[in-house]
Symmetry: C2
């Protein structure tokens, strides 16, 4: 924390040069394509040689995607990078560069802007991403963040949403619903705090789901694993808004149906425990909760032997013909149609 800035109001126009110099000072670039980063009207990248360039952009709004009441702004810097590079990873590509913009009201101090970019820098360091630019402006109404992630992949490796075929296996990394349950916990504590500001937050023992909400990680290892195994996914998508709607995006684009099984959906024991406390069905959290940033993808049935018993993902069902519908088989044998989540959902590059 910088004392000089501590009590200063942001006043972007007045403090901007200094802020930007500090953000730039925390930035290092490592990709050979980065010719010029922060400091001009645009960043300059050299060609990715034989590989294709992937570009993805996202926008996040205060009160919808984040709430500064219960989350340090540094976490949002980190999380925005993770969310954005997950869109590149979901194309089976390597994320390399990012640009992050911030529109902030004058209730936010300069030190918070720097803390936000500390989080950005931390995530860039973690995932080997070059921060090459952004935009910083004032807003009258809360905070907005936008991110543009850039990556590269060979034509052969790039995976779209529309390549799933009947009999393909449906796979998902990590586990689902944890970020949603973490959010419920934070909102409960916020309500209690608002009712009684003397109350202490009761967060002990909930580390896993809090981390899922506050500091999600991107699944960069999947691409390498599949490559090493010689398995090319037929379709892939970033799980931003719940398994149900993402799977339905794949089915719609691929013109297929699907069948998944309740007992195959990966749900962490802490997610189940919290769901029980809230009297929420944990499967509903997994199907409709957001912010997991796991990768949902399909692989040909014939690749099963190559990937069975792996540590990175679970097989949760298979792709069907369109006319068979999109369903979930519950543990009691009931077959329910999948419904898209009604969560706030971004349309990354327009679904």
């Amino acid at each position: 924390m910088n004392e000089e800035l501590e009590n200063e109001q942001t006043s972007i126009p007045n403090g901007k040069s200094g802020l930007i110099a500090r953000i730039k000072a925390g930035t290092s670039t490592s990709h050979p394509e980065t010719m010029v980063g922060i400091g001009n009207d645009a960043a300059v990248l050299s060609g990715f040689e034989e590989e294709k360039t992937l570009v993805s952009t996202s926008i996040f709004a205060e009160g919808i995607h984040f709430d500064l009441t219960y989350t340090p702004i540094k976490h949002y810097g980190y999380k925005v990078v993770v969310a954005s590079i997950s869109d590149i990873l979901a194309m089976n590509a390597l994320p390399t560069h990012i640009m992050i913009s911030l529109a902030i009201s004058n209730k936010i101090m300069q030190k918070h802007v720097l803390e936000f970019y500390d989080g950005v820098h931390a995530a860039c360091h973690e995932y080997g991403i070059d921060l090459i630019g952004g935009d910083l402006t004032t807003s009258r109404f809360g905070i907005s963040i936008s991110a543009t992630a850039i990556g590269k992949a060979s034509d052969y490796d790039i995976t779209y949403r529309n390549g799933a075929h009947p009999t393909d296996l449906i796979c998902v990394t990590g586990d689902l619903g944890g970020a949603y349950m973490g959010l419920q916990l934070l909102e409960r504590e916020k309500t209690l705090f608002n009712a009684n500001p003397e109350s202490q937050p009761q967060l002990a023992g909930y580390d896993y789901i809090l981390r899922r909400q506050l500091k999600p990680e991107a699944r960069e290892e999947l691409r390498k694993y599949l490559k090493a195994k010689g398995v090319k996914p037929t379709s892939m998508i970033n799980v931003e808004s719940g398994l149900a709607s993402e799977l339905m995006n794949i089915c719609r684009e691929s013109k297929t149906g699907c069948e998944i099984f309740e007992d195959r959906i990966p749900i962490h024991s802490d997610t189940r425990k919290m769901a029980q406390e809230f009297n929420i069905n944990p499967v509903v959290a997994a199907l409709n909760g957001g912010d997991d940033y796991e990768l949902l993808f399909t692989i040909p049935l014939k690749s099963y032997d190559k990937i069975k018993n792996n540590d990175f993902f679970k097989i949760i069902g298979s792709i069907n013909k369109l006319e068979q519908g999109s369903n979930i088989v519950m543990n009691d044998g009931a077959i329910m149609p999948l419904e898209p989540s009604l969560n706030t959902k971004t349309f990354q590059n327009a679904q």
Copy 2:
């Protein structure tokens, strides 16, 4: 206008697929690099061969950069494209692709989202830009827009902010201060309307400055002109926030001073007329007003003969040594130090 949508609240999650399908339907792509646009987690571009890739991102906030009280949202769609591609043009590069994101509150109807993208499509058509993606989400507080523009240029042609040298001529396209005076006019009419909703806006005869504010144009012709004349600019910047602060950005990055002349600053007669009505010095509007999206650049003194009497830009002064300071020579002979504008200013890729 689509009747089906007219009275519907936006409700992005419910109406999203339809909205996006409509946005996509209005999109055509023409650049050979566009492999895949709207429809996946990221867009895919093939390499720009021998040329470098330029990327620029901007964020705009309601109440700061735009006000729906007096401007149809379609204009903002157009203007955001112009503002963004001007950042690519200011690198002496050709803008080719754009991604536009929108975070909107539920007071905005679906038809307004479509009107916004109508404006985006119109500008993309005008400037030959491929819309290849974006993001659409809800916000609690007003509207935010973000844009990422992509372009290409040869290593030789790319122009930065830091290449100005003493004796270089300082040049600017078009004219300055008009957008600022247009904004003053719109704000006056808004105040009158708020005081008396029966009043009719008095906008007749102010077409030029209104157009400068509501439908600015990007200076795409400059690059071609300079190329044809064999003149390579030594530095360039997009005039987003007033001549003074942009010129000082060039001087700071180039470690130089500068001298410009009041009587050389291009100001349209309608801008002068409006300024007089408002009792504003029109030179102040040119120095500190925003939103002009003209290009400010420097060329070597020896190139003067090649560009004299051209229709695209004016020479307003010259670059000096750093120790000579950055000054404006007033018509009465007084020498005043240039001060950066205190306008809201974006730091495109961090100034």
